[in-house]
């Protein structure tokens, strides 16, 4: 086989009905996969469990995954234990925490901001206990998800014990709005467009944009099994190159409306079209609630930072999903593949960071990374409680 020939050129990739499935749909429908010699069938899956199983057993070559999923798979805590890797982050941000209409009225928030919302909730939970009200339930989407860890992070930082003071449960995103309206849950943390869909249906309100909890948190990644990556190195690079190309296109403000239309026309997300359009709109500067919104490419968004992986492993440890003895740096390096990302990015002329880590929480505003080719503008990465995670994944400063 010559150095340029792809090991495999027909691929099946899985996605979940969410706005951040857009990079894969756009790469298919605007020819970014074809440009790299790939013919891709996109399969819309009903659950993250199904995505994991089908990738693990080879029914899918790869898939849009929640960023912590390949880590959980490699750690063997996801039930299947087929090691997975990722060489690319598909997007940052995009999630929100919404509460039912009645909880919203009880909270009496003056502004939609994590600290005041968390304090109001804590006060309400104390009152609940005194009057003997049933425990409030909050839903997220999967045990190994940014949603789960950011929701716990927010609750804990506001003095609420996520294991004792509330009940956490998992509900698939397309069913969230129904559960909220049935009163089976009091709130949820979910990706776009489902928070807006709750508002559109008049059953809930978004009170926190997860950007406000952790600025530019990594959200979805492109995951494949470790064995697949080893057997298809050129195909893997071509796939990542095509997706970086699609993400660059999708992130240009002038293309967002067309991107939304492509997603709507694909039929992959069965939500009101207006909520899909809004989720992909670039929010106006100075809108503190919607902050930066979905980021698909700028600020080196596609780069799989080992420091992101280590933050997730640290959360798994914090909440008892893994043994405390596990070496976060070792797991991060096994699963996140920044070098593959650099090689793929070079194929489409995109500059990448030269380091594999950054400190998480240090930057409250725009900053710059020095590259041989010039400066790379980076986005903020602050936590709302001021915590800073050093390169070893544990807080460098106690907040």
């Amino acid at each position: 086989m010559s150095a340029n020939v792809l090991e495999k050129d027909e691929l099946r990739l899985g996605v979940i009905p969410l706005v951040d499935a857009a990079p894969l749909i756009v790469a298919r429908d605007r020819g970014f996969f074809a440009k790299q010699g790939l013919e891709v069938e996109v399969s819309v899956e009903a659950s993250w469990a199904s995505v994991r199983d089908k990738v693990a057993t080879g029914l899918l070559d790869g898939a849009q995954m929640l960023a912590p999923m390949p880590l959980a798979a490699t750690l063997g805590i996801d039930g299947i234990g087929v090691p997975m890797v990722t060489a690319m982050t598909l997007n940052l941000n995009g999630n929100s925490i919404a509460v039912s209409e009645s909880l919203y009225r009880e909270l009496q928030l003056r502004e939609r901001e994590p600290l005041s919302a968390g304090r109001a909730l804590k006060g309400l939970l104390l009152r609940d206990r005194i009057i003997g009200r049933r425990q409030r339930a909050f839903a997220h989407v999967f045990p190994f998800s940014t949603h789960h860890y950011v929701l716990r992070y927010w609750l804990a930082a506001c003095g609420i014990d996520p294991d004792r003071d509330v009940r956490l449960e998992v509900i698939p995103p397309p069913l969230m709005v129904q559960h909220l309206s049935d009163g089976r849950i009091d709130g949820f943390c979910v990706g776009a467009p489902w928070g807006a869909a709750a508002e559109a249906a008049g059953v809930g309100y978004r009170v926190v944009n997860t950007f406000q909890i952790w600025n530019n948190a990594p959200e979805k990644v492109l995951g494949v099994t470790r064995a697949w990556a080893a057997a298809h190195p050129r195909t893997h690079r071509a796939l990542i190159a095509a997706l970086i190309d699609a993400c660059r296109w999708l992130d240009m403000p002038g293309n967002r409306a067309e991107g939304a239309q492509i997603l709507i026309d694909s039929g992959a997300v069965d939500a009101p079209p207006a909520t899909i359009r809004t989720a992909l709109e670039v929010p106006s500067a100075g809108d503190s609630f919607f902050g930066t919104g979905l980021v698909f490419h700028r600020h080196a968004a596609n780069f799989p930072w080992l420091s992101h992986a280590m933050w997730f492993v640290e959360q798994m440890r914090r909440w008892g999903q893994i043994d405390t003895a596990i070496d976060a740096a070792d797991i991060a390096a096994q699963v996140y593949r920044p070098q593959v990302c650099r090689e793929a990015a070079a194929m489409v002329g995109v500059p990448c960071p030269q380091t594999d880590h950054k400190s998480e929480g240090m930057h409250a505003g725009i900053w710059a990374l020095r590259l041989p080719s010039g400066l790379l503008t980076m986005g903020p990465d602050a936590f709302f409680d001021g915590a800073v995670y050093g390169t070893d994944g544990v807080p460098a400063e106690v907040s």
């Binding site: 009903a46 659950s47 469990a49 693990a56 039930g79 234990g81 956490l168 998992v170 008892g320």
Partner: protein, 189 residues
Amino acid sequence: MRVMLVDDDQHRVVLLRQALIDGGNAVVAQLTTSDDLLTAVAHHQPDVVLIDVDAPTRDTLESLGQIARDRPRPIVLFAKHGDAETARRAMRAGISAYVVDGMPESRLKSVIDVAIARFDEHQALRRELEETKMRLADRRDVDRAKGMLMQRRKITESEAYEQLRKMAMDRNLRIGDAARSLLAAAELL
């Protein structure tokens, strides 16, 4: 073994249920994919949950045993017990299994093998039914296309069939699809 079934396909559930009972198992609950799975698991205490691989509520079932607290019992996927080939066969058949940790492997395997066999059988039946339906539709459309060709080109039935077959071959189509595209084109003219 106490089995809970979660599937929206009533015909398939009936097949599987009977096979499991014949094998000496108890089907303790039978649910649709939109039912409240957590409450059902807590109430029925199954040893195995067999669920449609494409049920959205699988993610809800996954959260069991993740954060150990007041959950009924830990649940793990069978793949940890079984081999990779069984997992692949199950996935292709469209079934996923969740089992209580510590169940004897030999008994588990027999339940899962029965489930895979029934799901496969059901899939084959459904495919056969679809193919029969397709063949019937093809025959009807081929007859209509032949009739149209005979009338317009003043040719015999066998000549019309020959022309239709050639058209299908040239365009790499099945004869039924060729007939349908010819009929659609004729409708436009």
